[in-house]
């Protein structure tokens, strides 16, 4: 059936061949065979690789939907102590209504742009956006307007990826480019204390002392003269470690639950799709800097237990799904360790020391994306030097 619909390469629909090809290869692995060289090929392909990353994101998405619903009801009831696992049905319905449109917009717009470029450049549609399209909704606040998502997606796909030549050629992570675009273009919508609990801005009379800030937002006031929580004890009383671990905290849609992220990480590490070197060293870098701050505290924030850093905000999500992007991360084995470590360390440095940003993971990974080729360059140079040395001694 699909074969009949294949546009003729010379016909008037020829331009749309990439689109047809995209759908056809989605449904069937084509009967394309090897010509020479290795006559047999491994069963893995890019579609399957990407599909497993999406599978790994499903726990985060599902949890994100529920969490969005929860904080919505917290906000409209003005009750911080609303039990987490009550009104489950209501929360799921609200969360789904809030989150799924973002997913649909992200995919619709992103794939639209991809198809347009595939038609224009006459290349096959590459699968990279299948993952980016899922990552973008998970790293924005649930309250983000859909037009912003659409705008950011177009920006990220066009300027983050297509101008460099498409999937596999981009310098910085596409999803993070979208996030950064939103962050800098609409700062009031992407940070502060208005956006993290869906529907909060519609609540007219907020109860006294009630803020919609994320734990990181609270923490970061510790470094300022007017903390909203009473020192680290006050913070721990408001946001316990286990809440953060399970993700019972406000934040971007997919980033809150450490447990859900680790389920995904388990799948990615088991299949070997994400590099354990990057994930491991990312956490190691964050912990190292966390303990370093503990050793030389200048304000209460620097005394925070580094384990808290691991489970708060986007740290784990960034480590597992963002830093491990094989295209934008370091590509050499040694380089991966250095890259991960620096990214993790940088994330905590920006979090704690920079008063402008409560969250540093996005900045840290984007910065290291740009630095990754440099790291690889030095790793490769050492290989080249080894070879040159051999030549001299030989």
């Amino acid at each position: 059936m699909m074969r009949k619909m294949e546009p003729d390469h010379h016909g008037k629909w020829a331009k749309f061949h990439p689109v047809w090809d995209g759908f056809y290869t989605f449904l069937f692995t084509p009967g394309e065979t090897t010509k020479k060289g290795s006559h047999i090929r491994d069963g893995i392909d890019l579609k399957r690789t990407m599909f497993f990353v999406i599978l790994a994101l499903v726990p985060c998405l599902l949890f994100g939907i529920y969490n969005t619903g929860h904080w919505h009801y917290v906000a409209i009831k003005g009750d911080m102590n609303l039990p987490y696992w009550e009104m489950i049905g209501d929360k799921i319905i609200y969360g789904a209504l809030q989150v799924l449109p973002i997913v649909i917009v992200s995919y619709g717009v992103g794939l639209g742009v991809e198809f347009a470029f595939a038609i224009k450049n006459k290349h096959a549609i590459q699968e990279g956006f299948l993952v980016s399209g899922m990552l973008i909704p998970l790293i924005v606040p649930a309250d983000v307007p859909l037009w912003m998502v659409a705008f950011a997606t177009v920006f990220a796909v066009v300027l983050g990826k297509e101008v460099f030549g498409g999937t596999g050629m981009n310098v910085v992570n596409v999803a993070l480019t979208a996030r950064a675009f939103l962050f800098f273009s609409y700062p009031t919508m992407m940070s502060g204390d208005k956006v993290w609990m869906s529907g909060l801005s519609d609540v007219a009379n907020k109860p006294e002392g009630f803020t919609g800030a994320t734990p990181l937002g609270d923490l970061y006031t510790l470094a300022t003269p007017e903390p909203v929580v009473n020192g680290l004890e006050g913070f721990a009383a408001k946001w316990s470690f286990s809440d953060a671990l399970f993700g019972y905290i406000p934040g971007s849609i997919g980033e809150t639950s450490f447990i859900a992220i680790m389920l995904g990480a388990g799948l990615l590490l088991y299949t070997g799709i994400a590099s354990w070197k990057i994930i491991f060293s990312f956490f190691a870098g964050g912990l190292a800097i966390g303990y370093l701050f503990n050793a030389v505290p200048a304000n209460p924030y620097m005394e925070l237990d580094p384990m808290y850093h691991m489970v708060l905000g986007g740290f784990a999500f960034g480590a597992v799904f963002m830093a491990t992007d094989p295209v934008t991360g370091a590509q050499t084995s040694t380089g991966k360790f250095i890259y991960g470590f620096l990214a993790g360390a940088m994330a905590i440095v920006i979090r704690v020391l920079n008063p402008a940003f409560p969250e540093g993971v996005m900045m840290a990974i984007l910065l290291l994306n740009v630095l990754a080729p440099l790291i690889d360059h030095y790793v490769i140079q050492s290989n080249i030097k080894r070879r040159m040395k051999r030549l001299k001694t030989a």
């Binding site: 449904l27 692995t29 009967g31 065979t33 090897t34 020479k36 579609k47 690889d376 080249i384």
Partner: protein
């Protein structure tokens, strides 16, 4: 001083259709074909015309650029056709063989009493020189070069490869004569398989340094062995000869005849009774296959599944090949959920754990020629390194070849590799890039510009 090496990277692809250790005879067929395309980069200059009578060992063409390299007929008979392609490029010389082979007499000689130049000339004149290949570039060795070593691998670790311990069993004298002859020109390294018990042909070999290597494929590739024993630097040359071809060289000295026969393995999942056969270079495979392969659309490969050449059902054995493999073609589209990219993961072989093949290490697979995906840009990193036991960054080298940065290629180690070393990289590549082709291109560029 012998070396023992153990490599940890690599991959053994387990396929159905391993040859049973039985030597069988195949009916004689007379349409022999010598493919000039077997010799990469060769511009042949013919010395025969259609209708000429030749003996086994008679020169049929030589290398236009290096005239001392001669190619001789493996059989006696009559030249029936000279096949040309674009721009009248010669593709093959067809010979109608006589049932009884008559040989040119090159004289019985004792290699141990000959000088290096005498050995060299003897090999060149008899047409066995093309068995000697050189690294870098992976083409026929240049007789004018002074190689630092000659490497011979005593085993083949590629999928379904013939077992040299079986094939060369009892060929001690010929193999030894070949090694002795080669040792006149440079130091010979013979590398044995440390995983098994090599045949006495190899363990008792003299006039060479015996090394051992253990590990998965490509442990048996000379490229891997050179890299770990005596790596090639810029400006150096290493020659390599296949173990069976060493025996052919040896027989030349012992008998005075150019006897280009080998024991080849007929293998692959579509072969009904995979066995060993005695065959001469250029032999047609038709009689070998008739009645012995399963019905259906099959791919016939002269050589192994990783590096061999696709041939027709009435094609011929290649010059460097010890094996004929038959596997199914993969021309049927595969629906995504049942057999395509979303399948649960039990039927296909993959090094990736999204398939379950790693849980069944003993299972042998019937793999077809489907690409199992579409060609993409490089996305996944770190996968090539796992099957590439070299101190070389494979992906960076491949990319430097793609954008033709000769200087960088040189620095990243292009001199140490041959396309066959990248065969496993090509196999595992998620983006389905023809890596061996890319490396071949890079070597050609380097040869043209730097040598």
């Amino acid at each position: 001083m012998s070396k023992t090496i153990s490599i940890r990277k690599g991959l053994d692809i387990k396929l159905l259709g391993e040859a049973e250790k039985v030597k069988s005879a195949v009916d004689f067929a007379d349409n022999f074909v010598i493919k000039t395309t077997d010799f990469h980069g060769l511009t042949p200059k013919l010395t025969v015309k259609i209708g000429d009578k030749v003996k086994a060992g008679s020169v049929i063409f030589f290398d236009k650029n290096r005239e001392s390299i001669k190619f001789t007929s493996p059989v006696s008979g009559e030249i029936t056709d000279i096949v040309r392609g674009e721009k009248r490029k010669i593709l093959s010389v067809n010979i109608k063989a006589t049932a009884e082979t008559s040989y040119e007499d090159f004289g019985v000689k004792d290699p141990s009493k000959m000088s290096a130049d005498e050995v060299k000339n003897h090999l060149l004149n008899s047409g066995v020189w093309p068995f000697i290949k050189m690294r870098p570039i992976d083409i026929i060795a240049n007789p004018a070069d002074k190689p630092k070593a000659i490497f011979v691998s005593a085993f083949d670790s590629s999928p379904l490869a013939p077992d040299y311990d079986y094939v060369l069993h009892g060929e001690n004298a010929a193999f030894q004569a070949g090694i002795t002859a080669l040792s006149k020109m440079a130091k010979v390294h013979l590398t044995l398989n440390a995983n098994g018990a090599p045949d006495a042909t190899f363990t008792n070999a003299k006039d060479c340094q015996i090394n051992k290597i253990s590990g998965k494929h490509p442990a048996g590739n000379v490229g891997t062995q050179i890299h770990h024993i005596d790596p090639i630097n810029k400006g150096e040359f290493v020659w390599t000869v296949n173990a069976q071809d060493v025996a052919i060289i040896g027989r030349l000295f012992l008998t005075g005849k150019m006897d280009a026969s080998r024991i080849i393995a007929l293998t692959g999942s579509e072969v009904k009774a995979p066995k060993y056969y005695k065959m001469t270079i250029g032999s047609p495979v038709k009689k070998l296959l008739s009645g012995n392969i399963n019905e259906g659309n099959n791919r016939i490969i002269s050589g192994n599944v990783l590096t061999g050449d696709k041939i027709d059902a009435d094609g011929n054995l290649g010059f460097y090949h010890n094996q004929v493999t038959v596997i199914p073609e993969g021309t049927d589209p595969k629906f995504m959920i049942t057999k395509g990219w979303m399948e649960p993961g039990f039927s296909k072989f993959s090094v990736n754990r999204s398939y379950f093949s790693w849980m069944m290490p003993g299972k042998k697979y019937r793999m077809d020629t489907n690409l199992n995906g579409e060609i993409r840009n490089f996305v996944v990193t770190g996968e090539l390194e796992k099957v590439f036991p070299f101190d070389i960054y494979p992906m960076q080298l491949i990319k430097s070849v793609m954008y033709k940065d000769l200087d960088l290629m040189e620095k990243l180690g292009i001199y140490e590799v041959a396309p066959e070393d990248f065969a496993l990289c090509e196999f595992v590549c998620t983006s389905k890039i023809d890596i061996q082709d890319v490396i071949r291109q890079g070597l050609d560029d380097v040869y043209k510009e730097c040598m």
